[in-house]
Amino acid sequence: SAVISQKPSRDICQRGTSLTIQCQVDSQVTMMFWYRQQPGQSLTLIATANQGSEATYESGFVIDKFPISRPNLTFSTLTVSNMSPEDSSIYLCSVEDSAEAFFGQGTRLTVV
C-alpha cells in the first residue's frame, strides 16, 4: 500500500494570505487527488492532478483559488490562495494503488 506524507500537518493563517500544502508518495502514481473536509462534514473532491498536465477541477473549485502543481509522479502541491475563514478545513491528498484509495494524514487549516 502507498504511504503518503503531507506537510504541514496543521497551520493557522491570516486571512488574505496563501498556504501551500505538500504531498509526497513513496511510489510512483499516475493520479493524485486533493480533497477538502469541512468541519463535521465528509470529503469533497477538489481536483485531480496528473503529472505533466493541468489539474482537473470539480464543480465549485477553480484554479485561481486552488492552484495545483504535479512536477513528478511522487509529488504534488495544493495552494489555498487569498484565504478567508470559510477556507478553514482539513485538506487531504489521496492516491490510488491497486484499485484502493489511500489518504495522507491531512492538513488542518485554520484561517483567522
Binding site: 462534514q41 470529503l43 482537473t56 490510488e96 484502493e100 494524514q105
Partner: protein
C-alpha cells in the same frame, strides 16, 4: 446524480453490543464501494473494497456486505478502540474526464463505551 447516504449519523454502543452501519447509494454503474475508518485529526484509513452484489469481506470485528442498493458494515462485539467515524464511498465507472471519482457519504460517528 450519484449519491451516498449513511445512517445513522451517530451511534453509541456498549462494549460487546453488536450493530450495523448502513450505506445507501445511487450510482450510474458501480465500479467499487469503499469503507474507511477515520480517527479525529487523521486521514481516512482504508478498510474494504466491495465490487459486486453479494460480496462480503471481513477484518477482525468488522464485516462489510454489499447489495445492489446498499452496503452494511457489521461490527461484532465492538471494543472502545473501534470508536471512530466510518466513511462509505462509491466509485463509478469512468466518466468522460478519464478518472474514477470517489463520492463520500457524510459518515457514521461510532462511540463504544466500556
Amino acid at each position: 446524480e450519484d449519491q451516498v447516504t449513511q445512517s445513522p449519523e451517530a451511534l453509541r454502543l456498549q462494549e460487546g453490543e453488536s450493530s450495523s452501519l448502513n450505506c445507501s447509494y445511487t450510482v450510474s454503474g458501480l465500479r467499487g464501494l469503499f469503507w474507511y475508518r477515520q480517527d479525529p485529526g487523521k486521514g481516512p484509513e482504508f478498510l474494504f473494497t466491495l465490487y459486486s452484489a453479494g460480496e462480503e469481506k471481513e477484518k477482525e470485528r468488522l464485516k462489510a456486505t454489499l447489495t445492489k442498493k446498499e452496503s452494511f458494515l457489521h461490527i461484532t462485539a465492538p471494543k472502545p478502540e473501534d470508536s471512530a467515524t466510518y466513511l462509505c464511498a462509491v466509485q463509478a465507472h469512468l466518466f468522460s474526464g478519464g478518472y474514477n471519482k470517489l463520492i463520500f457519504g457524510a459518515g457514521t460517528r461510532l462511540a463504544v463505551h466500556p
